[in-house]
């Protein structure tokens, strides 16, 4: 058991050190959500009024509405990017070193997913801190309650990223992931607009959004941030995390990548 703990803490420590030492990567990951918050939301607030909806108790400015979606966007980008590199950087080194560990491959992959998810949380809280200074101030208890919700979402998206990278040949580069995974997940969700607005425009778009796991991820975080509990969102996220992680670990096979290259 001790060997497992040593191994897991070593993987987390490595991710932490890389995070600390590669500050430019950290800062550039913050630029994207901050642009959405400071530019897009500022321009959009006049066009889009948000009625009183759960979990908010009153009318809210648009900046308040999109904070949970932007926090999840950080996790979405990190999860996809991290998982893609786990599959396609495997031949390049760090994954090869990881896989020479005598501990089971399932444990190693899950540890890696959890470690990168924990580091992503630091970026999310850095973003929430800046948003706080900007004036978007959820309750302090909400910020604490959002922590497990964000961790679950980070795990779900990392596992989904690994599963997709294992399964889909066309996702060899990040542009493919952006176009076919990140953008559809993000725009077909409640991250930028409440679903009733979408329903006003199109019934079938509404249903696509309602079935999108990312919508449930955003709603789980949104409710937690305002000290509310969303059972449906939790059940969907927890269930999908298990399914995605199981399938991702089962389909993780370096031979497939080699076969693709040779084929």
């Amino acid at each position: 058991m001790n060997a497992y703990w040593q191994c897991f803490s070593g993987i987390v420590l490595r991710e932490w050190l890389r995070f600390v030492l590669q500050r430019t990567r950290f800062l550039s990951a913050l630029v994207r959500p901050l642009l959405w918050l400071l530019v897009f939301a500022a321009g959009f607030r006049a066009a889009l009024g948000i009625a009183i909806i759960e979990p908010y108790d009153t009318y809210i400015p648009y900046e308040v509405y999109i904070i949970p979606g932007l926090a999840c966007m950080i996790l979405l980008f990190n999860g996809m990017q991290g998982s893609l590199s786990m599959v396609y950087d495997r031949e390049m080194g760090s994954m090869r070193v990881l896989l020479t560990s005598p501990l089971p491959r399932t444990f190693l992959l899950c540890s890696k997913l959890l470690a990168t998810s924990l580091i992503s949380l630091l970026q999310v809280y850095a973003f929430l801190a800046i948003a706080w200074l900007y004036g978007v101030q959820p309750p302090a208890m909400g910020l604490l309650l959002a922590l497990p919700a964000l961790l679950l979402v980070a795990l779900m998206l990392s596992a989904l990223g690994l599963l997709l990278s294992n399964a889909i040949r066309q996702l060899e580069n990040f542009a493919g992931v952006m176009n076919f995974v990140i953008f559809p997940l993000f725009f077909l969700s409640s991250a930028l607009y409440p679903l009733w607005k979408m329903r006003d425009s199109s019934e079938w778009l509404y249903w696509l959004c309602a079935l999108n796991p990312f919508t449930h991820a955003v709603e789980l975080v949104r409710f937690a941030l305002y000290e509310r509990f969303n059972l449906l969102a939790l059940a969907v996220c927890a269930g999908l995390t298990l399914v995605f992680a199981l399938l991702a670990v089962l389909t993780f096979n370096p031979q497939h990548a080699a076969l693709r290259k040779s084929g």
């Binding site: 001790n2 040593q6 890389r18 030492l21 031949e91 080194g93 090869r96 020479t100 005598p102």
Partner: protein, 247 residues
């Protein structure tokens, strides 16, 4: 007990056969050179030895433990230096080593002792806090060797470890590994395509088109196939392998 036993190993990428019925063994404390032209199947063999690929046919035993049935004890006895650079450049020498020790489940105390010992052996103690990015190619390789030896393996696998080094560093690395082999009775499997890295007393394995076309002591094989190693290698790797291993 042999440090390494490869028996009847075959591997295919879909319809394309990369290794066919490869068998050989490596005794404790021996230095074996694995030679082969590009595309001979060396990389596939390394991928199978390091568990990157799953075995399809045949078996690999490290220190008597099968990678198929007992991967954990087998991998515990295996140290690897990959052809590609696999160190975290922004981490220090010591941080890289500690990460590897954690992957092998060593306790903090064991890790401290082993890191000190391996850094001293590679003459890197003074540089333990330097970032790997600041080291030259030869020193980085030494860090990778220290890392591969941290968990005290019985078998050290070096995949084209001298690639990218200048001639002096290449020679120093080769001599260094041989001294480890003698002093620690570690078995070494050294893959290369450079014939001058092989010495007459080495075990020699020659792969060609996925088959092991020759295995035995280098001087005996040279004698049998043309007098010197260059002509023996040329002769063995220009024809289509018939299937019989020359010993």
């Amino acid at each position: 007990m042999n440090a390494l036993e490869v028996s009847d190993l075959s591997f295919a990428y879909g319809p394309r056969e990369a290794l066919r019925q490869v068998s050989f063994s490596l005794a404790p404390g021996r230095f074996a050179a694995l030679l082969g032209p590009n595309g001979a199947g060396k990389s596939t063999l390394i991928a199978l030895l390091t568990r990157l690929y799953d075995l399809q046919r045949g078996d690999i035993r490290v220190g008597g433990c099968s990678l198929r049935d007992a991967a954990r004890p087998a991998l515990k006895q295996l140290g690897v230096v990959f052809q590609q650079r696999t160190l975290d450049l922004d981490l220090s020498v010591e941080q890289n080593l500690r990460y590897h020790a954690a992957l092998h489940g060593l306790s903090r105390r064991q890790t401290g002792l082993r890191v000190d010992a391996e850094l001293a052996r590679q003459a890197l103690t003074e540089r333990r806090r330097e970032r790997v990015r600041e080291l030259n190619g030869g020193h980085r390789r030494r860090v990778e060797i220290a890392r591969a030896l941290l968990h005290e393996p019985r078998l050290l696998l070096l995949d084209e470890a001298s690639v990218g080094l200048d001639p002096a560093s290449r020679l120093a690395l080769n001599q260094h590994i041989r001294s480890l082999c003698r002093e620690q009775t570690i078995s070494v499997l050294w893959t290369t395509h450079l014939l001058d890295e092989v010495q007459p007393s080495d075990d020699l394995l020659i792969l060609h088109q996925g088959r092991l076309v020759a295995s035995g002591q280098a001087d005996a094989l040279s004698l049998e196939h043309g007098g010197d190693l260059d002509s023996a290698f040329a002769r063995l790797t220009t024809s289509t392998p018939s299937g019989a291993v020359s010993r």
